[in-house]
Amino acid sequence: MKPRINRISFLLFLLTGLLLFLSACGMRRPDSNQYKVFLIAKSTQTEFWKSVFAGANAAKTEYNMDLHILGPETEEDYEGQNALIQQAVKEGADAIVFSAISYTNNAPSIDEAARSGVKVIVIDSDVDSSLVSARIGTDNIQAGRMTASAVLEVCPDPMIVGIVNFAQVSKNGEEREKGLREELEKDPRTGKLLTINVITGQEEALQETIRFLQEHPEINTLVALNEPLAVGAALAVDDLDLSDSVRLVAFDSNPICIDKMREGVVSALIVQNPFAMGYLGVEAAWKLLEGQTFNPDRLIDTSTTIITPETMFTEEGQKALFFFQ
């Protein structure tokens, strides 16, 4: 009888000790146990990406994470991105927040990273991988449709549309153009839809757009599908002094585009929410690492706004266009 009581007591004792220990462990998370998250962007130069980084940093501060922001030299350099992915995995990333330059060519690296246990969150532009845990960004087909509606607001009849799209096979450009074409083709005023694919860079876009406009003088509506292209196109229209005859609808909120909008060169801007992409991307990384799950097949849509010269300085317009520092 006595040994039995002792055994029970001993077990109780152990159990209590264990509970105490566990609770002590659960009560504080040491700072050294920060999650290491890499944000691999398409560029580190544009206003768009600076906003993304600001959002990512806001989330990093809020969730106390170790965030590393990396990006390739140019927005065409998917190989550079692949190298960055491998670097991130090697440096012990818990999660990678990724924006793909190439829908297909970044896929193997992302698959490899995901297989080695790193959570992958895609922001802005998608990658062809089934191992992505969450997708956050602009609904590009919808953004394309919005672009179309902005075009249709300002376009003459009949309209000949020139589309300045990215050269790299990117899901973003593809989808935006798809949505745009779908909507435009429905309208009777639409005459011709022409596309050039330009290397994503301000200077290249400027030269290519000038050539494009010179080759096709019939173009009276121009659409530029991302920020560097938008700047290039706006400068091209301004340089050729075509602001009276060519309507320009462009993506994102580069200050040059805003200037050009004030000067009447740009008719409408399709403004995405890069800050939200960065913030939500890093937040999603934290949530995933804390055990929450997302449906990777359903895009978490960050808002997209159409800004026109009339709305640019309204309260909402300011909030959408200008980054608060």
Binding site: K2, R262, T302, F324
Partner: protein, 573 residues
């Protein structure tokens, strides 16, 4: 052992009773403690928040006063020589890097001049956000704007707040605007934390956000503040959805500082603390219970258990039981031990006595029977019978044989020790009949029997030894006719059977000798045998008394209880 296991043990009972009582007290006191603690914590959180917000308001008030002072200096300098202005602004922008631009306007709102740190303003200032004529029409003396984008320049669109004032006292004068970056303000606000996650922000009277540490999150619609609720309330502290809001209006009556802290933080922190406390207390309690139960086990349950085991041993083997004495510990248990020890000793003694008496009884009964089959008596009797037969006294011989047979039958009585007095008298009569034939009627005998005594029981062969004594010792030397009188009567709760003779009698010494004579030494069974059997059966108060006067006679009386059933005698013992 199996039988014991199924029952609750004292040790277990004590252990769990102490534990459950302890835990009950612990939990209830902690709960009570928690209730009050929570109230205090909430109150503390509010006070804290209020203190912090009041500090922030002071800082922001100071900042706004400072801007006002800057404005005074600007107004004064603008009145001076226009040539000195260039150098003044050169210095001014270096001193105040947070000032983005200073502009002057005609009363119509037309921009006159615009100074900034090295930037050239646009030519087209048609949509200038730094001067809001709509607000000026309401407050013509000037205003402090909410944050807006400064759109005076190309490719530079910083967020700023603008302070607008009249250029001079003259109501027809134009205005001056001072665009100041939010950076100084944000430094104050961002660094202010309340509790673990709390923060504060600035809003205007209408609930529009002026500055929030996460302004861009709010602009990007990733975060909202319940400004509608706050703007509807006066200054003070209040709680909504577990969030403590503390509001204080600034000196300019336009902006309000709002502190946001989370009651859940305070509560969950305190809960964690409480949990830790509870665990610690539980651990302490457990330790205490161990010590207490060890002590109790030593002083209480172990001795009791030992006692219990001792009782079991006693139950199983009484004869060889030896109790280990228990000398220390609780008084009651020591007493229990002592009592038990006494009891076991007494039981052992009693058992010893019973065993000895049983042996005695068996021995004396055997003696009595042996005496009956005394061969001399039998030879003599049989001689007498044979002599009668020879003489042709057949009638008398038959009587003699019948008496002898009856004598033996009653002696044996199918093994019963107790027989009815009726039978005992029959036995005595048969014996006397035989003896009177043998002694040729040298004595006479009479029976004086109370009829109601006949059914009571007595030890068999009680009267016969007494009669034998009278014949051999009392009447033997007598020349005259001896007389033996047998008397049975009831007296109180006793029955007295006496045998009296008129023989030689005994002296006191002789009586003592007869009474103390060991039954083993004599040929007959004697008085001692009779009295022993009486005592064994009925107890010490039932005995044989002798009253004797020398040369006159002896009366021996047997004292018996009134018993009708053979088993009844045990009750009297």
């Amino acid at each position: 052992m199996n039988r014991i296991r199924r029952h609750t043990h004292l040790n277990t009972l004590l252990f769990f009773t102490i534990i459950s009582i302890g835990i009950l007290i612990l939990i209830s006191s902690l709960l009570m403690f928690y209730q009050t603690y929570q109230q205090v914590l909430l109150q503390n959180a509010r006070t804290n928040s209020q203190r912090t917000i009041s500090q922030v308001s002071n800082t922001v008030n100071g900042y706004l006063e400072e801007i006002d002072t800057v404005m005074e200096i600007l107004l004064a300098s603008l009145k001076e020589d226009p040539d000195a202005r260039e150098s003044f602004f050169d210095v001014f922008f270096r001193i105040r890097p947070d000032v983005i631009a200073v502009s002057t306007y005609a009363p119509s709102g037309q921009m006159l001049e615009c100074y900034s740190a090295g930037r050239i303003p646009r030519k087209d200032q048609s949509e200038n956000l730094s001067l809001d004529l709509a607000v000026l029409s309401v407050s013509p003396e000037g205003y402090l704007s909410s944050p807006h984008v400064v759109n005076l320049f190309d490719s530079y669109y910083p967020w700023a707040v603008t302070l607008v004032r009249r250029l001079s006292e003259d109501p027809a004068a134009g205005w001056i605007s001072l665009d100041i970056s939010c950076s100084n303000l944000s430094d104050y606000i961002n660094e202010t934390g309340i509790g673990r996650r709390g923060y504060c922000f600035l809003m205007d009277r209408n609930g529009n956000m002026v500055y929030h540490p996460q302004q861009q999150l709010i602009y990007s619609s990733l975060k909202t503040e319940n400004t509608a609720l706050i703007s509807g309330n006066e200054d003070g502290s209040y709680t909504a959805d577990n969030i403590i809001y503390t509001v204080q209006t600034l000196a300019n009556e336009q902006w309000r500082v709002v502190g946001v802290s989370f009651a859940a933080d305070v509560i969950s922190d305190s809960l964690v603390e409480l949990g830790r406390l509870l665990l610690l207390a539980a651990l302490l309690l457990l330790c205490m219970v161990f010590i207490i139960s060890a002590i109790l086990s030593r002083v209480l349950s172990r001795p009791i258990r030992n006692l219990e085991q001792a009782m079991q041993r006693f139950e199983q083997d009484t004869d060889h039981f030896l109790l280990v004495p228990y000398e220390k510990g609780i008084y009651e248990i020591r007493n229990l031990y002592d009592s038990f020890q006494h009891m076991t000793q007494r039981v052992k003694e009693l058992m010893q006595t019973v065993r000895e008496e049983e042996n005695n009884l068996r021995r004396t009964e055997l003696k009595a029977l042996q005496a009956q089959i005394n061969p001399h008596f039998l030879y003599n009797t049989l001689d007498s019978i044979s002599w009668m037969c020879e003489q042709g006294k057949n009638e008398e011989a038959v009587q003699m044989v019948t008496a002898l047979a009856r004598l033996f039958r009653i002696s044996i009585s199918r093994g019963h020790e107790l027989i009815p007095i009726r039978n005992e008298l029959e036995h005595a009569r048969s014996y006397l009949q035989i003896q009177s034939v043998r002694y040729q009627d040298q004595f006479t005998y009479t029976f004086d029997v109370d009829e109601e005594c006949l059914d009571y029981l007595c030890n068999k062969i009680t009267l016969q030894p007494l009669i034998e004594n009278s014949l051999y010792h009392g009447l033997n030397g007598l020349v005259d006719d001896g007389e033996i009188r047998i008397c049975v009567r009831s007296e109180g709760d006793q029955i007295l059977m006496s045998v009296a003779d008129n023989g030689s009698g005994m002296s006191e010494e002789q009586i003592r000798f007869v009474m103390s004579k060991d039954p083993g030494e004599s040929k007959g069974i004697g008085l001692r045998n009779v009295s022993d059997r009486l005592r064994i059966f009925f107890g010490n108060q039932y005995t044989v008394t002798i009253r004797s006067i020398p040369d006159k006679g002896t009366t021996v009386t047997v004292h018996l209880p009134k018993i009708l059933e053979e088993t009844d005698y045990e009750a009297t013992n």
